[in-house]
Each structure stands twice: as structure tokens, then as C-alpha cells.
Symmetry: C2
Subunit: 138 residues, 2 copies
DNA sequence: TTTAAAGTTGCGTCGTTTACTAATGTATTG
DNA sequence: CAATACATTAGTAAACGACGCAACTTTAAA
């Protein structure tokens, strides 16, 4: 069960935005993408999903870009995961008509809820990297 | 993030085996598969993985079949998930060289561990369906 | 008011993974 | 040794993921 790259990328881009949140600065796609080692083209799609989920605000036109819609303390991994993927973080099939299908399904739903709860406990502010002297450049 | 069908099927087949655990009865693939609405051929592959993980014991030849290697109380969703998928239940990529990649990764590792813990709390015995008057047949 | 810098949208594509099917091999029992 | 049931491997079709590209729209600034 692989965590989609798209979700990870979303976290990285948001961490990048959180870095300059207090300055109110607008960040451009090119800037965000290169800081996180992502393709600008793909980053756009991620930022679009985040905007539609109300996590990010965009400004169009010249000198446009993106900024966080909320304080980094008020954005959690759960918000991000739900924005990128569908409703539930883990989805299991409702049943194939087998004798134990319903029981199995409801067990995994419980697991999914537990995981979602643990996602709610991790805030975006915990993801932002130390700014001073970074050797994270490749 | 979809729970692989293979993992769900494994749970169903094991629930079926748990149903007759106390009788010590050996169940054949055909039997297990039809009770859970699965293809026999595919079920074999699932059962093979479960055997290699030490969750199930097989007997070959005439009157062969499968039975649980342990008591249904001592098999958890964590055991099953790990048997079917790799080491960790949720795997996130270690990093792409981005500035926040490491932080993001470690956050998801924490989530993954929390989820694994919650999988450890659900036992196979909770998955077995009520035997009396079932209308689960399709 | 023009212009160019930015975001927006949708389509296309390529590679991988998943969920199977099928065929063939191997062990066990009567 | 023959019938039966598990074991293994190969193959495949469809779905999904991770992008790239191009045309369009918006807006600040010259």
C-alpha cells in the first residue's frame, strides 16, 4: 500500500509555503518546484487540487503565485491527504458477496479511521525544514 | 490510497479458516474460494503467501488442504497485511532531494507506525461471520 | 492600452502495478 | 501407480500514476 507521490509532493510544496508564511510573501510555481526538486508542470496540478480544497490561495496574472490559506498550525496531514485523494485515506472495497466480506470491510474501515486520526495530529508546521545552512541541495 | 484486494481476500480466506479452526478440519481451496466468492486459482496464490508467512499450514496430496497455524486470537490484521505486502504497511518514498523531503517522509513514517499499531489491535477472530442463517450467498 | 508574466484547464502518453487466467510441476494417499 | 490436491511460474488485459504539452485566461506593470 503505497502512499501516492502526489500526496508527498503536496506536503513538500506546502512545507515550502509554510516557510515564508509569516512574511505574507507570494511564491511562484517555479520557485516552489525547484526548492522541492519537483517538475513545475506537475506542481501546478498539485497546487490546483490544494486550491480547490481551500488549503492554498492563488493569485493570477503578473507577480502572481500561491500562499497558504490558513496558519501552518491549522493544516494537518489529514487535510492534505483528503485534498489529494478522495474522501477516505484508505479505501477498501465494500464487498464481493463473500461470506466474511462485510466483516473484513468494517475492520479496515476502523483502521482507516484510526489512521486518519493520527494524520490529524501532525501539523504542517512540523514539516518545515530548518532554514539555516541547508545542504539539501542536490 | 487503496487497500489491495489481495489483502482483503487474504482476510476473507483466513476468516473462513477461523470458522472451522476449533474442529481441526482441513479445508480445500475450492471450498474456501467458493465460500468467499473468489476464484480458486487466485486463492491459491494468496494461500501460498500466507503459508510462507507462517500464518497457514498446508497439506498436499489427496485429502489435502489448509488450516490455520495459530489460534485466531493470535493472528492480527498486521500479520496479514505484512504477509501480503512488503515490510511496512504504508510505504513512502525516502526522498527526492527536495528541501522538505526528509521531514515529510518521517512524518508519514510516524503515521505508518500508528496505523500498524491499530492493525495489531484487530484480531482474526473478530472477522469471522455469524454462521447461523446466512443470506450472504449471491 | 498593450504586453508579457503568471496561473488554469484539459488532453495525451508512457510505464508500472494489479488482478487475474492458465498451464505445468510436485507431493501424498489409497 | 493413478488420482487428487497443492505449488509455481508465466502471461495478460485493464487500470492507475506520474508526468508533459499546449492553448487559454487573468492581471500587474510599462
Amino acid at each position: 500500500m503505497r502512499l501516492p507521490l502526489k500526496t508527498e509532493y503536496a506536503c513538500q510544496v506546502l512545507a515550502q509555503l509554510a516557510l515564508t508564511y509569516s512574511s505574507g510573501e507570494v511564491r511562484q510555481v517555479e520557485d516552489l518546484a525547484s526548492a522541492e526538486g519537483l517538475s513545475p508542470n506537475y506542481s501546478v496540478q498539485i497546487l490546483t487540487a490544494l486550491r480547490q480544497a481551500g488549503i492554498v490561495i492563488s493569485r493570477r496574472g503578473k507577480n502572481g503565485g500561491y500562499l497558504l490559506a490558513k496558519h501552518p498550525d491549522e493544516i494537518t496531514l489529514a487535510d492534505i491527504a483528503i485534498a489529494m485523494e478522495g474522501g477516505s485515506v484508505i479505501e477498501s472495497s465494500p464487498g464481493n458477496g463473500g461470506m466474511s466480506a462485510a466483516n473484513v470491510h468494517s475492520a479496515w474501515v476502523r483502521v482507516s479511521e484510526a489512521m486518519l486520526e493520527s494524520c490529524r495530529e501532525i501539523k504542517l508546521s512540523e514539516l518545515v525544514a530548518d532554514t539555516d545552512d541547508a545542504d539539501w541541495v542536490i
